[in-house]
Symmetry: C2
Subunit: 197 residues, 2 copies
C-alpha cells in the first residue's frame, strides 16, 4: 500500500484453462487486500488481462507483471520472502515477525499452484501455514494479507477509478466516476462483481 514498503505476490505455476479462475482470484485478492503487485507466469496472460481490466475500472495503483522465469525474482528479492504452504509454521506464531520485517522493507509472498520445488521452501525466510489443513491458496493469501496489514487494507483509497461501489445495507449502488451518473439497486456494474474474464 502507498506509504509502506512494497508487498508483491508471486504466483508459481499456471495451467491455461484449468487454472484461469484461481489465478485471476489470486490477483484480484492481492489487489483488493493491499498488495502492490502480482507477478504471474507467462502462461497466465488471460488472467493478467482480467486483473488489469478490473484495476482500470475500480482503481489502483496496482501492477500486474507477467514473466517467464520466477527464479531470478525470488533469488534477488531485496527483502523478506514468505511462502504460504500448509506445511509451514502457523501464521499466528510468525505474523508478528513478518510485520516487523515489513516495517523494514519489501515483502514477497509466494503462492504455489501445483507441487512447489524445494528451492522455494529453502529460499523463503518464512514458510507459513494459514492452518495446516488443505484448503485454498486464495483463502490463505486473504487471511495472510489481512493479518500482515492488521486491517489497514480495508480502509485503503483507490486512485483513477472509473466506478465505485457505495456500501449499502441492502441492495447495490455503483457510482460512475467518469460522468457522475450512477447505477442504483438491482443493477450489476457490467459484471464487475464477477471476477471472471
Amino acid at each position: 500500500m502507498q506509504g509502506e514498503p512494497e508487498v508483491a505476490v508471486l504466483r508459481l505455476g499456471h495451467r491455461p484453462g484449468r487454472d484461469d479462475r484461481m489465478t485471476t482470484h489470486v490477483g484480484l485478492t492481492a489487489r483488493a487486500l493491499g498488495a502492490d503487485r502480482v507477478v504471474l507466469p507467462d502462461e497466465a496472460s488471460g488472467p493478467a488481462d482480467t486483473i488489469r481490466d478490473i484495476t482500470g475500472r475500480f482503481g489502483g495503483p496496482f501492477e500486474v507483471e507477467v514473466r517467464g522465469d520466477w527464479r531470478p525474482l525470488l533469488r534477488d528479492w531485496a527483502g523478506v520472502v514468505v511462502h504460504l504452504t500448509m506445511y509451514g509454521l502457523p501464521v499466528q506464531e510468525v505474523e508478528a515477525d513478518v510485520r516487523a520485517d515489513h516495517r523494514e522493507g519489501p515483502v514477497l509472498v509466494v503462492l504455489g499452484a501445483e507441487k512447489v520445488p524445494f528451492e522455494v521452501y529453502d529460499r523463503a525466510d518464512h514458510n507459513v501455514g494459514v492452518t495446516n489443513q488443505p484448503h485454498s491458496e486464495v483463502a490463505g493469501l486473504a487471511v495472510f494479507l489481512d493479518r500482515l496489514f492488521e486491517g489497514r487494507e480495508l480502509d485503503r483509497e483507490w486512485a483513477d477509478a472509473a466506478r465505485q461501489v457505495v456500501p449499502q445495507e441492502t441492495g447495490k449502488k455503483v457510482v460512475s466516476l467518469d460522468d457522475e451518473s450512477s447505477g442504483e439497486e438491482g443493477q450489476d456494474p457490467d459484471g464487475a462483481a464477477s471476477a471472471d474474464g
Copy 2:
C-alpha cells in the same frame, strides 16, 4: 466450532465443470477456518465428494450437505443470516455486531456464485463486504471467518483424522495417524495439498 453456536456456509449457484474448483475451495475454506457445515447445490455433488474425502483424511467434525432448493433453509434459519457481497457494508464496521449475534445463536453465511436474487439481500440480517472491490468469494469468506472467530479457528483441533501435517520451518512433514508411520520432508501427502477432486 465445537462449544459454540453453529456456523454454516450456504453456497448459491454452481455450474458443473466451470465452478468445480471454486465450490471445492469454498467448502474446504469453510472447513479449515472454523465453520461446522457447508450447504451446496444439487449440481455440486463432485465438489461435495472432494470435501468429504478431505474431511475423512484430515478430520472433522464437518458436515457437507447437498440440497435442491436453498430457499427453505434461508427462510427458516433460526439465527442470523450474513450475506457476503461487494455491495454490502464494510466488514470492519459490522463484525462486532455479527460476533454478538453469534454468541446468541447460529450464523448462516451466504455466498453467491453468479448474480444473487434480491430476496437474499432482503432476507439477510447483514449484507457484508470484505472490501467493496471485486475479488473472490473464497477470499471474502476466509477474512470473514477469521474475523468472526477472532483467530480461534486457527487453534481448533481435529477429530478422527487419518493424517496430520506437522508444521515445519522448512519442508514437509505428514504423520499418518492410522499406523504411526510418517512421511518426511519432500513427500506429498497423496495430493492432499491440492484442493481439487
